[in-house]
Symmetry: C2
Subunit: 158 residues, 2 copies
């Protein structure tokens, strides 16, 4: 397999907010993130998996200093849109593996999951795109996760 990885990186600067049980109807993602954007908060990852029984969980990550403000904003929107509880973590670690032409290499994501599993590190969020796979783990696991992935991809890193 002709696989080349550009980079394995760790971003340990963020926290996450999850809005559980957002009604799966048009317009709600816009109203949640318009509110957060208007406050000047720089959202990094936004992840929504497919809804279950008409409700979806929306998770996003922000700089750690913006967690409190994000929680206040999301709590205010929550009752307006009839969503469920809000959960958060003050500290998450985002591990990214990026490389050109990754689209044909599902194996990059699989190797990430396997390397983290072997290190007994829990995968908390996953977000893949054609050129990059992002995985979020607990903030306390960031360094160990980075080491596990650097070792896993040492043979194919440019």
């Amino acid at each position: 397999e002709d696989l080349t990885i550009e980079d394995v990186t760790l971003d340990a600067s963020q926290g996450r907010v999850t809005l559980v049980g957002v009604p799966d109807v048009p317009g709600l993602a816009a109203s949640i993130f318009e509110r957060v954007g208007e406050a000047g908060i720089l959202v990094d990852m936004i992840v929504q998996s497919y809804s279950v029984e008409g409700r979806a969980n929306l998770t996003f990550t922000v700089p750690r200093d913006d967690i409190e403000r994000s929680l206040e904003l999301v709590e205010a929107v929550r009752s307006e849109i009839g969503a469920g509880p809000v959960t958060s973590s003050a500290s998450v670690a985002k591990l990214s593996v990026s490389g050109i032409g990754m689209r044909s290499h599902t194996s990059v994501a699989i190797r990430m999951f396997s390397a983290l599993a072997a290190a007994n590190i829990n995968v908390e969020m996953i977000s893949t795109s054609e050129v990059r796979v992002n995985v979020v783990v607990d903030g306390a696991d960031g360094e160990a996760a980075l080491a596990a992935l650097q070792k896993e991809f040492a043979d194919v890193q440019r």
Copy 2:
């Protein structure tokens, strides 16, 4: 705001599979996707939002022709790992907006959500990375969603 978009694209070739209620313990993402990868199925998007009450929903997209096989594989894993039901859609449409330096532009994601809301199109999945925002809508809404986004970003497309 200094925003430049490279591309607004539609990929209407895929379907999605969602495994609901995966226990949030290390190693399960690896065992699910090792199975799918070994079968030679080319997974495109993998999205996992943060878990709720110790369980996470995992959604992934595959070429439409591979939906049946993916469902069989995931059903086989499901009982082994004690996960919940499996849902799927035969046809989803992935809309991608990509551009260099997007990380500081939460506004790209917000503009996507707002443009789709204005067109009354439901956002089914979201996956953002630094250089690309992917949104999945129902397969039947793909063309209308593409038109709405091309119009929204016409002023900043390279």
